[in-house]
């Protein structure tokens, strides 16, 4: 694949890739942009090479996912180091997002997805947002199809419950 063809593919998949990067970064837009750019660097510099064993999109999503994981790991260790330096006694706790306070469906979906375990969020995003099959999602996530299906079913049930909870709860302002 020539560099021109590579760029054409990246451009064609740009919006989908950004959506996937957003999902991998829990909706953090600046971080998603960094991740996507790093993934592009990796692809055009030849540090991630498409072997043709899967579709280009599946492969590219795998690269984005790996880059996002590396960014997340690096960012987490830096945040923990900063917290320890500023407050030696502070305990690092999980970053739970606030409960959804808006009835806007897109925001409610984003907030509910943020409360799901990572694997469930990923498989739901790939199947519903990216219109992939569960087998393709499993390939991106580097897990077995059976495992992906389990995450998919559990994630769907949990997401429905969270969305129902959001609709039942009265809006708390802001």
């Amino acid at each position: 694949m020539t560099s021109r063809e590579l760029e054409a593919w990246l451009e064609r998949l740009h919006e989908e890739s950004f959506g996937w990067a957003l999902s991998c970064c829990s909706g953090d837009r600046p971080r998603a942009e960094d991740v996507l750019q790093s993934a592009y660097v990796r692809v055009i510099a030849g540090r991630a090479v498409y072997g043709g064993r899967s579709t280009f999109r599946t492969w590219l999503f795998g690269v984005i996912r790996r880059v996002a994981w590396e960014h997340h790991r690096r960012g987490r260790s830096e945040r923990q180091r900063t917290l320890r330096l500023e407050h030696p006694d502070v305990r690092v706790v999980a970053d739970h997002r606030a409960a959804p306070d808006a009835v806007d469906s897109s925001r409610a979906l984003g907030a509910s997805l943020a409360r799901l375990p990572e694997r469930q969020r990923e498989v739901l995003h790939l199947v519903f947002y990216q219109d992939m099959s569960i087998a393709e999602a499993a390939e991106v996530m580097e897990i077995s199809v059976g495992s992906a299906r389990t995450h998919y079913e559990r994630g769907k049930a949990r997401l429905r419950a969270l969305l129902a909870e959001t609709h039942e709860r009265p809006s708390t302002g802001s």
Partner: protein, 126 residues
């Protein structure tokens, strides 16, 4: 009905989110220009994470093998050396290689030559 056709209400929610994200997606041209500038400054030979991990593992295993060899080989060699030395000394002088008990001297009794020799007529015993 396959996975893509199920759950239309969830699919509609995700579609709304998809359109929202698409409208806010950064420009591809700008991002690609930045990526190309970054790629130009990044060494092409820098290995990716997986390759780096493989090399780290291989390096660790090689170091462990070297340490194990350094511990085990001198022991084996010292045993071999002692054996070879014993063989060499036996070849040069069998008496050096023969084992002798420290209490062998107690078996030497006074006049034991009389018991171990046959007397002959006409000669005095020594």
């Amino acid at each position: 009905m396959n996975d893509r056709q199920r759950d239309p209400e969830l699919r509609a929610l995700f579609e709304a989110q998809r359109q929202d994200d698409a409208s806010r997606a950064p420009s591809f041209a700008e991002m690609m220009a930045r990526a190309q500038a970054a790629a130009a400054t990044t060494p092409a030979t820098q290995p990716n994470l997986r390759t780096r991990r493989r090399r780290e593992w291989a390096g660790g295993l090689a170091a462990a093998a070297v340490i194990a060899a350094l511990i085990v080989i001198p022991r084996v060699r010292s045993g071999d050396d002692a054996f070879e030395q014993a063989v060499r000394s036996f070849q040069s002088d069998p008496a050096l290689g023969a084992w002798q008990s420290p209490t062998d001297g107690l078996l030497n009794l006074p006049g034991d030559r009389l018991l171990s020799t046959i007397p002959t007529v006409g000669t005095e015993p020594q």
